[in-house]
């Protein structure tokens, strides 16, 4: 259960376009559209697990995680937030859908997460500024308490 929560928190770090919105130099990208590599960090603010079925972590359990997103190279306050909605598919694996809320639009990523310390999701799309975004999101946990992550977007276009 705890691992699932961590993984969800990591997904919340999908705030790449926000970084771009706040400052193009923050992550080294010049445009939301087009190949680029973007780095932001996240801090988990809440984690709720809905234990369905037998008590304890099991298939079908659901986990909802909320994170604030940062680009501390630009500013210390959050630049947005993210929401993870994960459903356990095995006791150690969960399928997650992540929505990243940024000032100029939203990004959506999804996929299966085995280890919440290090995982990779597909960027499925976005709205407004991030319309038709595609690529991968790699998430690495940096601290456990509080749970912080580094989110690295590699966008194809």
């Amino acid at each position: 259960m705890r691992r699932s929560m961590y993984m969800l928190v990591a997904v919340v770090g999908l705030a790449v376009p926000a970084v771009y919105t706040w400052s193009s130099s923050a992550a080294g990208s010049g445009a939301a559209i087009g190949p680029s590599t973007i780095r932001i960090t996240s801090r988990e603010t809440s984690r709720v697990r809905v234990d369905l079925g037998r008590p304890g972590r099991g298939v079908g359990d659901t986990e909802v995680i909320r994170q604030n997103l940062f680009n501390k190279r630009i500013r210390s306050k959050p630049i947005g937030f993210s929401e993870y909605v994960c459903t356990f598919t095995t006791p150690t694996t969960r399928a997650c859908n992540v929505t990243i809320f940024l000032p100029k639009g939203r990004l959506v990523a999804g996929g299966s997460i085995q280890y919440q310390e290090l995982y990779e999701l597909a960027v499925l799309g976005g709205t407004r500024l991030y319309d038709n975004a595609r690529g991968t999101l790699t998430v690495i946990r940096t601290t456990r308490r509080p749970r912080r992550q580094i989110l690295l977007f590699r966008l194809a276009g």
Binding site: G28, R39, Y115, E117, L118, I140, T143, R144, L152
Partner: protein, 497 residues
Amino acid sequence: MRSLSLSTRMIAASALLALLVAGVFALLIHAVLTLDDARDREARSKEVTAAGVELEKLVIDFESGLRGVVLTGDSRFLRPAEAGRRQLPRQIGELERLVAGDPAQRRRVQALRVAIDDYVSDYLIPIGTIARDNPDAVRTSLATEEAKRRTDAIRATFNQLLATEDARAAASAESAETQSRRAIVLGAGGLVAVALLIVLFGLYLVRSTAYPVRNVAAAASRLASGDLSVRLKEGGPGEVGELTHAFNHMAAELERRERELELQNELLRESERKKSELVRIVSHELRTPLASILGFTSVLLNRDAAPEDQRRYLEIIDREGRRLSALLNDFLDAERLDEGHLALDRELIDVGRVVAEQVRLFEGQSEKHKLDMDVRARPLPVHGDPNRLAQVVGNLLSNAIKYSPEGGTVHVVAEQDDGLVRISVRDEGLGIPKELQEGVFGKFFRGDAPASGIPGSGLGLTIARSVVEAHGGRMDFESGRGEGSVFWMELPIAASN
């Protein structure tokens, strides 16, 4: 166009030579500096490459440690990498310092710094932490691929950086080689050119200075040895032209002064000769009457002579005394002529009357001679000094009598002709040979007279001609050996009113 002076030419030539030498040296210095710069760039590129390789080695160490962690899940494999992290700032700082002057490389190094920092802080350190917490999480293919992706990106930047530096080092080496060759060619060419220019300048100096000076020296030697006719060909640049011109002027002036000196010497010699002649004439002419005077005076004093003899002696003494007086007057007149002080007391006179008086005066002086006077017009008015004109006529008559020792008729004609009064005195005497005629009117000229025992000072005709010319007239003669002589003079006739 005015020719440039030699000084200006030499200064200009020296300046040109100096300019060329300076230019060659400037090119050489530039080539050497460029070579030095190319070598510096090459060395710097090599230093950058070395520093880059050193840095890359650190990253490889990180990667090796990470691979160990990924394979084993044991975070201890990261210990060497952590040690390397401490060297990272220094090595990147060194690399940044080396590329500080190259904006493009500086950007690459900055990107490299960010990439390595991100790799360490965003991946290496978290993976170590994760490996301790959950070793299985870092033994996934994702961990391996992510590590590879990141190190590949860093390695690509390294490759770009090092390739650029390699290319630069190669280009710098080639540039250094080119500059080295250029410096050698420039140096050799410059040396040859400068040597050639110095030789040309020397030849020019020899031609423009040494040759003319040598010519002047040779000409001066000839001048010193007495050849005053030597002259140089004038011309040449500035001072040389002035030198040849000045030399020629000096030679001409020396020649002119020598001629003047010779003339003055000649005049002095002539003067000396005339002085000797004067002394001789004076001593001779004065001695004769003086001897007579002294002799007859002694006879009168020491002997008892008959009264008629005493009278005759006294007449001789009187005549010789007058002769002495006339001689002295002639000398005084000659002196006045020399000094230009011949004074005339002019008035309107009848020259015919003057002539007649003189003819009467000289008549009966010699039993052998007859004076025939023909005054063809009366009056013959002339504005003149009667005494001086009488002196002239008397001189002509006296000469006609003296130079006709065999006797004969002396014809005197006074006439008016074309606004002039012409008086001529013709004798039937010795005549004057052609070769002596030129000096007849000269001072102390006596021709053959001394040899013939004819007395005289040689001043009479000189004085007579000067007097006539002072009256605005002229005097001349026609004569030949044994043909007698005709002396004539012409005076401007005075206006009738």
